[in-house]
């Protein structure tokens, strides 16, 4: 177990290194810099001063090494687009909002998706099943920004029930969470249905019934446990996606979260911010995959470490 963890963490570090190199190269390929005439009309001397204080006058390889060296000590530098604030202060402030949104979305999508999937599988091929499957498909297919706009038009414009955007209080949370949750919910419902139907046809279930176990125990001990492995396979990758913020949801509902900074940082050539955001999302993805694999081990003893 310890050995396995060390190998996996080593792999994660390797991936972070590769991501850092590629992102560094790509962002310096973008023409222009953070203190160009068009962005910030400064005198030559002032510009040179700023460039020097941020180390932008150094050769690129030295800038890269400096960034990585500092990042290893959790010093990510100052954000160019938000002067006076370090990158980790800025990310800490805005990521909190995205985390809130993502956590609420997960709290809606996972239980409801499971519930719909179970109902669907229990009544396989009935009208309930068809309705749930159709709604799940619709949820997966409709882009969440389309759904968000439709929600705004109905609940803000037409019915005047909810504010069109912002992020203060439960009233502003409802629509973004719904728009964001419907897609993952549909995916979870569909996979839950399929994997439950697979389990319902299995021999061990007939055996369990034959030896007289109650339906309650069969559901808990045999059905859910066996069905949870394929379900986990789809939930795992959804989690990091939802926790790092959505560019579109945050833009449509004017939520001051992390998502918008992916775009604005690239536009502003905010190099430390771009690097840190890329490393952060790679890190969240890597950790989520690792945790998913560890949970597999707990729920399914047939899965062995490799």
């Amino acid at each position: 177990m310890g050995r396995y963890l060390i190998i996996r963490l080593g792999g994660l570090a390797m991936m972070l290194f590769i991501v850092s190199v590629i992102v560094f190269v790509l962002m310096h390929l973008i023409p222009g810099g953070p203190y160009d005439e068009s962005k910030m009309p400064l005198s030559e001397a002032a510009k040179a001063n700023i460039m020097r204080s941020y180390g932008l006058d150094k050769p690129l390889w030295e800038q890269y090494l400096r960034y990585v060296g500092n990042a290893l000590r959790f010093d990510f530098g100052y954000s160019y687009q938000s002067p006076g604030e370090t990158v980790d202060q800025l990310i800490g402030r805005v990521w909190l909002v995205s985390l809130q949104l993502g956590a609420m979305t997960l709290a809606v999508a996972i239980p409801l998706g499971l519930l719909l999937g179970i109902i669907s599988a229990r009544h396989q091929n009935s009208w309930i099943d068809n309705l749930v499957t159709f709604l799940a498909t619709l949820g997966i297919v409709l882009p969440h920004f389309v759904l968000g706009i439709l929600l705004i038009l109905v609940f803000s414009n037409l019915l005047h029930l909810l504010p069109t955007g912002g992020w203060d209080g439960p009233k502003t949370w409802i629509m973004p969470v719904i728009a964001y949750a419907v897609g993952p919910m549909g995916i979870i419902a569909r996979y839950t249905r399929v994997s439950l139907i697979d389990v319902f046809g299995a021999d061990y279930l007939r055996t369990a019934r034959a030896k007289g176990l109650t339906e309650q125990i069969i559901l808990r001990r045999h059905v859910l446990r066996n069905a949870s492995v394929p379900i986990l396979t789809v939930v795992g990758p959804l989690v990091p996606d939802l926790l790092t913020g959505s560019i579109f949801i945050e833009s449509i509902f004017r939520i001051p979260g992390l998502g918008g900074y992916f775009v604005s940082s690239i536009f502003a050539r905010d190099y430390p911010m771009i690097m840190t955001l890329a490393l952060l999302s790679a890190c969240v993805v890597g950790v989520a995959y690792l945790l998913t694999d560890l949970i597999y081990l707990v729920i399914d003893p047939r899965i062995r470490l490799q």
Partner: protein, 305 residues
């Protein structure tokens, strides 16, 4: 005799039977595929939506009542009416015409991005699967490296490097779009290349190139076609997203994503500017996904759940 059961006709000669039933249809693979496809009403709905969108895209100049880029400042911000079916935008351009031309942008992007992706993905997938060894290793590492990046972040960064516009959007979408097709093709080739028909072809001295294109390709096309119908809406969705952010298609060429993005500032007053492009994007996604589901049932029967 209303119906002939197999038992009743079993002893009869073939010839009089054929005379009795001259319109008997043959069960060709194509006909079977169509039967499987049309058995599900939703796939027919998908086909109808996609056909309608293609019609709008091809015949946009005939369908649209106005020029898509003709401003009329005396008729700005109009709500839908009989003259302007979907109203007008901030500088008085007929919104219905812009929506119709938007179909052209979406279809052009979706289909050509997928066409480029198909050529690259199919070729590299065939090479990787047939050659194996070091070539296979290199191609698959390239695939892994590109796939490890979040697609949207990759697209945004690359587009900022290249600059926005139709051609560059196409390049960016094709740059990631070939990956699933390459993976699928390689997996299909691996599962087919030891089959008897391939070994037989090799035994009688057919060249590797001919084996790849004349023997393997027809046998792996089914799943590949399904992958394309999944790839087209993905490309359309990505284009809409990029244009929404303002780094996709450049104005004045209309794109639904761009129209949605611009409408966000006025959504409280001018609902029509947000509603119609959003509905069109949703409809397009729905049409292609339903069509893709139907095609999967029809062409790749093993994958049916």
């Amino acid at each position: 005799m209303m119906q002939r059961s197999p038992a009743m006709t079993a002893g009869l000669d073939a010839e009089p039977l054929a005379a009795l039933n001259p319109v008997r249809k043959e069960r060709t693979p194509r006909r079977q595929a169509w039967q499987r496809f049309s058995a599900n009403r939703m796939s027919l709905v998908g086909l109808a939506i996609v056909a309608l969108l293609l019609f709008l895209a091809i015949f946009a100049p005939l369908v649209a009542p106005f020029d898509y880029d003709e401003p009329d400042f005396t008729a700005a911000w109009l709500f839908p009416s009989r003259e302007h079916l979907m109203g007008t935008d901030g500088i008085g351009r007929d919104f219905f015409s812009r929506i119709v031309y938007g179909a052209r942008t979406s279809m052009a992007i979706g289909l050509s991005a997928q066409a480029i992706a198909l050529v690259i993905g199919l070729t590299l997938g065939l090479i990787a699967g047939l050659r194996g060894g070091r070539v296979d290793f290199l191609i698959m590492r390239l695939v892994d490296a590109i796939w490890a990046f979040p697609r949207m972040l990759f697209a945004i960064t690359l587009l900022t490097v290249l600059g926005s516009g139709f051609g560059n959007v196409l390049i960016v979408l094709a740059a990631t779009g070939w990956i699933p097709i390459c993976r699928l093709t390689r997996a299909q080739v691996l599962s087919q290349r030891e089959r008897d028909y391939v070994i037989a072809a090799r035994a009688i001295g057919v060249s590797e190139r001919r084996i790849a294109f004349a023997h393997l390709l027809p046998n792996i096309m089914g799943p590949v076609i399904v992958a394309i119908t999944i790839g087209v809406p993905e490309a359309i969705f990505a284009e809409a997203g990029l244009s929404f952010l303002g780094i996709g298609i450049n104005p004045p060429v209309p794109s639904w994503g761009q129209m949605v993005g611009e409408s966000m500032n006025y959504i409280r007053y001018y609902w029509h500017l947000a509603l119609f492009p959003a509905v069109m994007i949703g409809l397009t996604m729905l049409g292609f996904v339903l069509l893709g589901d139907g095609l999967r049932d029809a062409l790749d029967p093993r994958s049916r759940s």
